[in-house]
């Protein structure tokens, strides 16, 4: 094992990575923005806990503030910022980490992920080498197709409610624990989130790791509608209930998550409410509805746009093989 890089080498590595990211996005016509890290309300998520910063919280992502900028006419934008998520500590998790987040009015952010990986790898070549194969090609795999392929044929439609999904998974390695929520929308979200967690851990991750080992990057696209989070919903060609959410995986790791953005304020409020009910059933602290953001979705309204967020430490660590890069 090689000795850890010096502080000077790490500074040079990060300087090169940040310069590569900025050069790429400016070349694509995006402008860099900064939004405050302390916010009055965060996007309400099932298993992402914000760190309190009274009055308010540290942002868990700059998503709502950046979408407000878009609603007010910013045009395509990107941001590089520290975010905080309580109790996420592990080999690939930090409670504070650098998120690269961007929004564009046209074009596909999944293509940006592939391009960014290539640019950062090239820029960091003098500072280290990946210890797992970097992607030399990218594929798009629909979520429900990946489920079928990795489970020996489990065919889900994407619109199963909590009871139907529980029945469909009974007896499988991904069978669901009893649901705790009572509201139908919350039960559906709870069931699908529990399935996604168990299936990711036991079936999807090994499958992704095998594909990554062969030099393939994967965009897992068309997440089922209950897992849409902040993405617009849609029907796929097979009539399945999906959404504009995707996740990008390279080097066998999840790198980015993105959406074709949901613009409907009524549906957005209902989704936040379902998450809040799920959080309540698991004893997570209550969070306020992000009213300012919802008001901006109503008027002036979000333009048609897509966005994604990428964990920059992970990319830099994977590109240089220095997993302790961020102490």
């Amino acid at each position: 094992m090689s000795p850890p890089p010096s502080v000077a080498a790490r500074v040079a590595t990060w300087d090169a990575a940040l310069a590569a990211v900025r050069a790429y996005f400016r070349g694509e016509g995006l402008r860099e923005v900064m939004t405050p890290p302390r916010v009055p309300a965060v996007a309400i998520e099932p298993w992402i806990e914000p760190v309190p910063a009274t009055p308010g919280w540290l942002h868990t992502s700059p998503e709502l503030a950046m979408k407000s900028l878009l609603a007010h006419g910013s045009g395509p934008i990107f941001q590089i910022t520290h975010v905080a998520r309580a109790s996420e500590r592990g080999a690939w998790h930090r409670e504070q980490f650098v998120l690269l987040e961007w929004y564009r009015l046209d074009g596909d952010p999944a293509d940006d992920v592939a391009a960014l990986v290539a640019r950062v790898l090239e820029a960091l070549a003098p500072w280290g080498r990946p210890s797992t194969p970097p992607p030399d090609r990218w594929s798009r795999v629909a979520f429900l197709d990946a489920v079928r392929e990795t489970t020996g044929g489990l065919a889900l439609r994407g619109d199963e409610d909590g009871e139907a999904l529980t029945r469909a998974l009974a007896g499988a390695a991904w069978s669901l624990p009893p649901l705790r929520t009572t509201d139908a929308a919350a039960r559906r979200l709870e069931a699908w989130t529990a399935f996604f967690t168990a299936w990711s851990d036991t079936a999807l991750d090994p499958w992704l790791a095998a594909r990554a080992g062969a030099g393939e990057g994967i965009h897992l696209i068309a997440f089922p509608e209950p897992l849409a989070a902040l993405a617009e919903r849609s029907l796929d060609a097979a009539g399945r209930s999906t959404s504009g959410r995707f996740e990008s995986h390279a080097f066998g790791r999840e790198l980015a998550n993105g959406y074709r953005e949901l613009r409907d304020p009524i549906e957005q409020r209902a989704r936040f409410a379902a998450v809040a009910a799920l959080r309540g059933a698991y004893g997570a602290p209550p969070l306020p509805m992000p009213e300012a953001f919802l008001a901006d979705l109503t008027s002036p309204g979000l333009p048609v746009c897509s966005g994604a967020a990428l964990g920059l430490e992970r990319l830099v660590a994977l590109a240089t093989g220095d997993v302790a890069l961020v102490p």
Binding site: S87, G90, A91, H93, T193, T197, D201, L227, N257
Partner: protein, 189 residues
């Protein structure tokens, strides 16, 4: 009883599961994107020593195990078990033969051991990593056979039987590993 959230687990955290105290040996946090965090743990039953793997989801809670370890001195064996004494309070506790198990072979008079208490009940002992014991019985080595890998059976003062090199004689003292039960070396003087 104090409650421990799964997110507070780390190595050596002591928790109670199904009425047994466990200590966390290994710990890994994984989290699929926007999924529930998973805590993959290897845990050791503090009474039986059995090691098992368990995965918990974020949000789960445990009772903290009320476990305490006290250094005590071994006094004597009786028909019912083995008696130890706290050197500060002179309080004596008796552990049953089933709890002490094979550790009994290394209990020399006055040996200092860590006695483990669970809910104020003695549930196990933790021996020093090695003990020094006297050979009480062994066949003499065959003259001229000096190869170092040749061993013979010997008995030590507690009755424990151990394989020792052929040059070891009755009355000599040897160092024995309490985990493997194996001979380590001869102790001179």
């Amino acid at each position: 009883m104090a409650s421990v959230d799964v997110s507070e687990l780390k190595k050596n955290t002591k928790i109670e599961i199904d009425g047994h105290p466990y200590t966390v040996v290994e710990f890994q946090f994984v989290k699929p994107g926007k999924g529930q965090g998973l805590y993959k743990c290897r845990i050791k039953n503090m009474i039986t020593g059995a090691v098992i793997d368990r995965t918990w989801r974020s949000g789960e809670k445990f009772d903290a195990a009320n476990v305490e370890s006290k250094q005590m001195q071994y006094l004597f064996a009786s028909a019912d078990g083995f008696t130890f004494m706290d050197n500060e309070s002179y309080e004596q506790v008796e552990l049953s033969s089933s709890v002490v198990g094979d550790d009994k072979w290394f209990l020399l008079d006055n040996l200092a051991v860590d006695v483990l208490f669970y809910n104020d009940r003695p549930v196990g002992i933790s021996l020093p990593s090695h003990v020094i014991m006297e050979i009480t019985d062994s066949e003499p080595g065959v003259k001229g056979d000096t190869a170092t890998n040749v061993t013979k059976q010997a008995t030590v003062s507690t009755g424990y039987q151990v394989q020792v090199p052929i040059f070891i004689k009755v009355g000599e003292r040897v160092k024995i590993d309490t985990r493997s039960g194996a001979y380590i070396e001869r102790v001179n003087g």
